[in-house]
Symmetry: C2
Subunit: 92 residues, 2 copies
């Protein structure tokens, strides 16, 4: 399952995503990817920073990518939304 | 003035920051840095994506950094806030 180490950040409190990331690493993942769209992007950055600064100093940011996704609204109209992908990995 | 090509993203509409970035490039900057903190981070990502996708296809993302800054609240209490720095540059 290649998507197994991906954490999608939404509207829950930051700490629930921090816990999810830390759990992934503790379960043996060598790399965890944090993804978010729209207004949740700030929360994704918070998640990465809290993991790194408060819980796992042995984790580093390997890559950060931003992009634009097209989403379909309720009425079928299309809108663009920005997204972010933060790749965290164990320091080698 | 080393900070001359920095655009700070706050609470205004995305298009006002897009315009600021495009103006910087049109004034001869080879590189423009977009900075934001806290909830404005999503807007900074939107700004970079709109510049790149709608206005300046010859601009690329050179680097993205995230970090944590300590800010002092009104009562003197300290809080951590995440920040982002997106470096845009003309494609070579």
């Amino acid at each position: 399952m290649p998507e197994d180490n991906v954490i999608y950040v939404g509207n829950k409190p930051v700490m629930s995503y921090v816990l999810a990331v830390v759990t992934q690493f503790n379960n043996g993942s060598e790399e965890v990817v944090i993804k978010a769209r729209g207004r949740s992007i700030s929360r994704a950055v918070d998640t990465a920073e809290v993991v790194r600064n408060k819980f796992m100093p042995n984790v580093e940011i390997r890559d950060i990518k931003i992009s634009t996704e097209e989403i379909e609204g309720e009425g079928g109209q299309k809108a663009n939304v920005s997204s972010i992908e933060i790749v965290l990995g164990l320091k080698r």
